[in-house]
Symmetry: none
Subunit: 116 residues, 4 copies
């Protein structure tokens, strides 16, 4: 089992925003929700929301225009490989968990089929 010490709120929200960018719900350069709207959207503290944008800016995922708002990075490259990368992580986690619970390949496939 892998303990995830990085599963803090601000990390989870950043991941979610990345997911939205990867899936095309957000497009490169687009305006993100305001700090206060983000806080409302995820039911978190405005301060935590501000930190999310600060970290995204620090890591080049977003940029900020004072008084205007925070925007997703302009460069489409940045979000390019993100989708398949996130999917791969999703799948490997899922398969590992199911095997830990004692399900074999056929059962897993069957259960996924019936869930779709």
């Amino acid at each position: 089992m892998i303990l995830d010490a990085n599963s803090h709120i601000y990390r989870q929200v950043i991941d979610d925003i990345c997911k939205k960018a990867a899936s095309g719900q957000f497009t490169a350069g687009q305006k993100l929700p305001s700090v206060r709207a983000l806080a409302d959207l995820y039911q978190i503290n405005p301060n935590t929301a501000a930190r999310i944008y600060r970290e995204m800016e620090a890591s080049g995922l977003a940029f900020t225009r004072k008084g205007l708002g925070t925007y997703l990075c302009d460069d489409p490259e940045v979000f390019g490989g993100l989708r398949s990368e996130m999917a791969a992580g999703c799948i490997s986690l899922f398969v590992r968990e199911m095997k830990d619970l004692g399900y074999d390949k056929e059962e897993i496939l069957e259960l996924v089929k019936s869930a779709l």
Copy 2:
């Protein structure tokens, strides 16, 4: 999106122990590892390991025999439906995430197949 406020280390370990009980690796009433062994097993701090048993005891999942150790709850009922329940949660989370990333049913099945 659902923020996982329960993603602390000690919660993750409790979940993992439940998973082991659900999958039959642990059986009702069996002795659990000592606090030290648990700390060693998950590479966590002994303080945190101690807290894990404290919480499990408080929520009725385990009980302690002074000087002997901590044991999983005797009642098989408690861990009865756990396996399929956890699997269902696993699957629905996985499917939701993949759909959020924009994959359709065929793609998901294909990707799971190739991952197995």
Copy 3:
């Protein structure tokens, strides 16, 4: 006149720590005050103190050992040119301000002499 939008508390304290490192009061790799001690020392909020170390770590000036404390960067290079650099900034700011107040070279020199 130059407006300094960066003169926030956390910036001022970082500068002060750099000054201490530059002047040899702090040496490369040494332990810094704990977050709480720093808060006490500068009469600031522990949260702000934590941010100071977070920023210093992000910019490579310090590193952190969980449960042990925060330490100045090991590399003496980092604090090498800092002293003369900070002195130059100090002097040019001082001279500019004095000239703005209408003092000429001789007066400035005389005033500095009598202040020493």
Copy 4:
């Protein structure tokens, strides 16, 4: 070290205006730039410029004639000792900082000379 909690933009501009009054660039009772001109002069937001005059009026440094503009306080006393006072502050700050950086009297004098 003394943290400068007064380092907001509007405080910095007020200080600069005082410096101009102290150095004789502004004289007691003279008309100050309009809010718009002030914003333009310091490259700040008009809201911030308006606040500057509001604060100066509140602290007796200036007064406003409706429809005419804002004027420096009439009383020459107010700006009397300001020049030498500000110079003294400037110098003592500079000397302290240089000494903190580990420079001795001769070095400081030498550096000031070469900067002039």
